[in-house]
């Protein structure tokens, strides 16, 4: 489902997802700086730990939602030809949903 991103709701979604992503990135960068990853086992252990893979999946879903609201605003501002606008928005929406499905597959199946 494409979140109906307009008005106050889009404004709020954009900010909540932004704050979550900032906190996640802060944690991600600092834990990698504190405990550098040396090999595949280390990386896999870091990402697929239950709490981290959940947090990462939430991060990717927040990223996709945030990207939808942002790109939607950009398209609405610059693409004034209606059929082109609708086509672009549809392509972006499908691509983002596909990325979400892919991310879920990677983190839920690939991580096992």
């Amino acid at each position: 489902m494409i979140p109906r991103a307009h008005g106050l709701k889009a404004w709020l979604v954009q900010r909540v997802s932004a704050v979550y992503m900032a906190l996640y990135l802060f944690y991600f960068i600092f834990s990698l700086a504190a405990f550098p990853i040396r090999d595949y086992e280390g990386w896999r252990g870091f990402i697929t730990a239950p709490s981290m893979s959940t947090a990462t999946l939430v991060f990717l879903l927040a990223l996709l939602t945030h990207a939808w609201v942002g790109v939607r605003d950009v398209v609405l501002d610059y693409v004034r030809i209606w059929p082109l606008r609708m086509t672009l928005l549809s392509v972006v929406a499908v691509a983002l949903i596909a990325c979400g499905a892919w991310a879920m597959r990677v983190l839920m199946i690939g991580g096992l």
């Binding site: 595949y40 990402i47 950009v74 990325c99 990677v106 690939g110």
Partner: protein, 127 residues
């Protein structure tokens, strides 16, 4: 209400001077679009890196190559500028720094902060 007189249109890009706040704003957009375009590659690399030792090694090798080093520097700038501009936006939302002087000052900090991160990333990844 329809305006009968044609509105003045001034689009001479060589003469238009963007204020710092506008630079921070268009930079927020451009960096956002760049980060959006990076999403499938991010997920692809995550996928590859978790497939096994050889996939992980392949991702490391790709990231170590010059094309991706250059691209990484660009994306690190995009992330930094977008993050700083976003924090500025959140502060403006709670009416923090809305006066003209402080808005200009914070826009300057966003632009400069992005460039500092760009230089640090370029130094670390390209030298």
């Amino acid at each position: 209400m329809q305006n009968k007189r044609p509105r003045p249109v001034f689009l001479d890009l060589t003469k238009i001077r963007l204020p710092l706040t506008a630079v921070a704003s268009i930079g927020h957009r451009i960096s956002g679009v760049l980060l959006f375009l990076a999403i499938p590659f991010l997920i692809y690399f995550l996928d590859l890196s978790l497939r096994g030792p050889s996939g992980f090694a392949y991702v490391i090798r790709l990231l170590d190559g010059w094309p991706l080093r250059l691209l990484s520097v660009l994306l690190i700038w995009a992330l930094a500028h977008h993050l700083f501009a976003g924090i500025r936006h959140l502060l403006l939302d709670i009416a923090c720094g809305v006066s003209r002087e402080s808005a200009r000052r914070s826009a300057w900090m966003v632009n400069a902060g992005g460039l500092v991160v760009l230089l640090v990333a370029a130094g670390a990844l390209l030298l």
